[in-house]
């Protein structure tokens, strides 16, 4: 490849991808550091118990520092020259086809690198305290390191195959960490469920890769995007839908959303890092990264928007009914990612805001989860919010940091969520009024259920048993929470005001589209904030003014349905699992009885036939003589008939 290749992707951004040199030649090290940590901890075994966790944390820290250095280096380059390609080796060269193990560092992946290493590093630090007493702490940190490496591989990959590698890697770590405490059979099942549903999504990824090779002869971003304008619309639509299928699996979007709630079985830091801040947003990354494909296919974009809207409402409704604090947050994650997917489906108007919301969400949701973990830590691992209450005095730091995250997620200005969500809703309104209304409605519900979480946990009467002694968490846990809270407060403003992030991403996704509204933009913002405040007020009336029962009331039909995640599990079970089990059982029966039965049957037939034939051998000489005579009759008969 020449030193610099200009690539202009259709309707998208244009950037000059040059060979990584200087500091950028160290891109591979970003991945290698945590990967090295994972290998050392896994292979080293018990010998690394003492220093392993700290080593793992340090390595992620180094990665973050390196990322930061690269970021500032990148800032020093002109906007269009911020993309670098590093090719390590040819992975699978077959004829004209080849997959390079190579990385592409551009503004989009840079944003992810910083998010992943920063939040990842904080979660590592937090886990030093949270997992301090776990006998398998070393394994936990090994998995965390492996996760960071896989996630970085996912976002740094320069081809879809390598994305797939990282994609599967994070899925595997997710499986390992959800099932980290798999001594509980339910947790092991949850882990399996997550992995299998992700694999269903991976069908989309696999097929997309196959289709790409057939259509373009390559899976490298540069090749695929360069060829996309000339590909048939059918191929583009198929690619878009397949990639969307992959994204729904990884990002817990409809229809593959069912695993995320159960995934809360994992340790809370895992929920914060993997199932809130980073891995589940990989779907958004994939769609934004594939923007040259989506830009060319309206059908695919429509599907993306639909998935986003449905999921954001679905997650929001489910969130209102959950009493388990982590499951409520998980539903919220699902809903927030719905916003991002929605934004990504809006095309150039939304890509940048999808990523902005992804980043701010990464901070405030990680903060919320870590706060929840801190609460559980102090409450002897109780997760039922109905047994919390009035914890703000016992856990002041947790309360404040959680509160910052809370204000951010419900979109109160000037907290970060306000900026990111507001922009998405605006873009949605510009695209389609109904989509916009749904998004506003979602914001209101978000405010309601998050306020519910907040009030049930930190306000009202104490509803916990007397032998519980809630206490603030150790420093190693509070410091990450504080850092994340700061991010929750300021990040949105930093990124959005002045269009900083939009112009940062412009080389990748193209310029933002201006949209016109009938009413002033400020009015829209006011409506959104007002709707959110209505949600807060409603929660105030329902959960603060009235006493909260420790045992959940039966609730309306809708509440019960939402508690059951709108029967998603029953749906999956009756539509896929049961028939699958019956099919499997039938096939096992078929294999044993019909196919093998045929085999054994023919063996038995031959055996039986021989036994019957054997009876002819009576042992009586005269019988044999008789058969000889019969033979003679035959021979003579044939001779007579033939010769005469």
């Amino acid at each position: 490849m020449s030193a610099a290749t200009a690539v202009r992707w259709s309707e998208g951004g244009s950037q000059v991808i040059s060979e990584a040199s200087g500091m950028f030649g160290l891109t591979w090290l970003l991945i290698a550091l945590p990967l090295f940590g994972a290998i050392v901890l896994l292979v080293g075994g018990r010998r690394t118990n003492s220093f392993g966790p700290v080593l793992a944390t340090l390595l992620v820290g180094f990665s973050f520092v390196l990322g930061l250095v690269l970021f500032f280096q990148m800032l020093g380059q002109p906007g269009e020259e911020r993309a670098f390609n590093q090719s390590l080796f040819e992975w699978a060269p077959i004829g004209d086809f080849s997959v390079d193990v190579g990385f592409q560092l551009d503004p989009l992946s840079m944003a992810f690198v910083l998010l992943v290493t920063f939040v990842g590093g904080l979660v590592h630090i937090y886990s030093l305290g949270y997992m301090a007493d776990d006998p398998d702490k070393r394994r936990f940190f090994a998995y965390l390191n492996l996760f960071v490496a896989s996630m970085l591989l996912l976002v740094l990959a320069s081809s879809y195959v390598l994305v797939y590698v990282g994609w599967e890697g994070v899925g595997l770590v997710s499986y390992l960490l959800i099932g980290f405490w798999n001594a509980k059979p339910a947790y092991a099942t949850a882990a399996k469920k997550a992995f299998v549903m992700n694999r269903v999504g991976d069908i989309g990824m696999s097929l997309a890769i196959m289709l790409m090779v057939t259509t373009f002869g390559t899976t490298a971003f540069s090749g695929v995007f360069a060829g996309a304008p000339e590909a048939s619309s059918g191929a583009l639509l198929a690619l878009g839908l397949l990639l969307l299928l992959a994204a729904t699996g990884k990002s817990a979007q409809l229809p593959l959303q069912a695993w995320l709630g159960d995934a809360m079985a994992g340790p809370t830091p895992v929920s914060a890092l993997i199932h809130a801040a980073t891995m589940v947003t990989a779907g958004v990354y994939l769609i934004v990264r594939s923007n040259p494909i989506y830009n060319l296919s309206d059908g695919a974009q429509l599907a993306v928007v639909l998935v986003g809207v449905l999921t954001l409402l679905f997650g929001a409704f489910v969130g209102t009914a959950k009493d388990d604090i982590k499951k409520a947050l998980a539903a919220s994650t699902m809903s927030q990612i719905g916003y991002m997917i929605l934004a990504a489906g809006l095309g150039p108007a939304g890509y940048a805001f999808a990523i902005v919301h992804l980043l701010t969400h990464g901070f405030f949701k990680a903060g919320l989860f870590l706060g929840a973990g801190s609460v559980m830590h102090g409450m002897d691992d109780e997760v039922d919010m109905r047994r919390y209450g009035a914890l703000r005095k016992a856990m002041p730091i947790t309360f404040i940091t959680f509160g910052a995250g809370y204000l951010a997620i419900i979109g109160i200005p000037p907290f970060s969520g306000f900026f990111s969500k507001d922009k998405i809703i605006e873009a949605a309104l510009a695209d389609n009024i109904w989509v916009g209304i749904a998004a506003i409605l979602g914001a209101g519900i978000t405010a309601f259920y998050m306020s519910r979480v907040m009030f049930l946990t930190f306000f009202g009467q104490k509803r916990w048993a007397d032998e519980t002694h809630p206490h603030e968490s150790p420093r190693s846990m509070t410091v990450p929470m504080i850092l994340l809270a700061i991010g929750s407060v300021v990040l949105g403003a930093v990124l959005v005001i002045g269009g900083r992030f939009v112009s940062w991403l412009e080389p990748v996704v193209g310029p933002e589209e201006e949209h016109d509204f009938a009413i002033p933009v400020l009015a829209i913002t006011a409506i959104i904030v007002a709707v959110s405040l209505v949600g807060v007020a409603l929660a105030y009336v329902m959960y603060l003014r009235r006493p909260v029962l420790v045992e959940a009331p039966t609730g309306s039909v809708l509440t019960r349905a939402a508690r059951q995640d709108f029967f998603q599990d029953a749906f999956n079970e009756s539509l896929f699992m049961r028939p699958g089990q019956y099919l499997t059982r039938f096939l096992v029966f078929f294999d044993n009885r019909v196919i093998d039965g045929f085999v054994n049957g023919s063996a038995a037939a031959i055996g039986g036939g021989s036994a019957r034939l054997r009876r002819w051998q009576t042992g009586f000489v005269r019988s044999y003589a008789l058969s000889m005579l019969a033979g003679a009759v035959l021979v003579v008969g044939v001779l007579v008939l033939v010769r005469l």
Binding site: S623, L626, L629, V633, G637, V640
Partner: protein, 261 residues
Amino acid sequence: MIELLSAAPPTSTGEALAFWVLAPVAVVAAVMILVSRKAVHSALWMATTMIVLAVLFIMQGGIFLGVVQVVVYTGAVMMLFLFVLMLVGVDASDSFVETLRAQRVAAILLALGVGGMLIAAISRATFPDAPGVGAANDAAGGHVEAIAEAIFTRYVFTFEAVSVVLITAAVGAMALTHRERLTPRKLQAELSVERMRSEHPTPYPSPGVYAQHNAVDTPALLPDGTASDASVPDELRRQGTVRHTELEGIGESDADEGDQR
């Protein structure tokens, strides 16, 4: 008669007459072999058939063969049969109850099938004019000379092979009937000691001597009138050919049963 002869030139009237007399005899004798219950009777009917066949050979110019037939078959082979019959019990008569299912019917049907097809084949075949072996005899300077020439020239290898077969058969027969002595031969001293130690030191009673029967297979009568089995040789008892006297009113049925084992 004259016309008949001219119509069928190869055979003379005498030959025809002889054939029509002898052929039925042969067939009847053959059937009798089949239906005689006693093997001895079968053997005698067999001899009859063979002699008839010898005559038929001679009638057809096989003088040498006819003589050989009489000497070898009727003389030697049949005597061998009779010897063996003596060994296995000359008196036993066979049961004609067929034990194998459908054997008899199948045998007769199949045999008729073979026969029918052979007869059909013969009847449809075209034969030469039956010149007789006279010309061949004359070429060699005589009948025996002709046969000798054939055997010792054209068929010499066959002849040698057959001689090997014969010798092998002789050796084989000896090997088969020879019994290896497993224990050292008992001398008179040992025999007498053994006898004294047995339950029965005295000689066994001799067979019965009666007006009707006077043979080793007839048991003697004990003073109370019962038959003494000890007076009959073991071998006969094992064969079941012990003949009970009519005095006992048992008759000969015993013998039949014995053979039906």
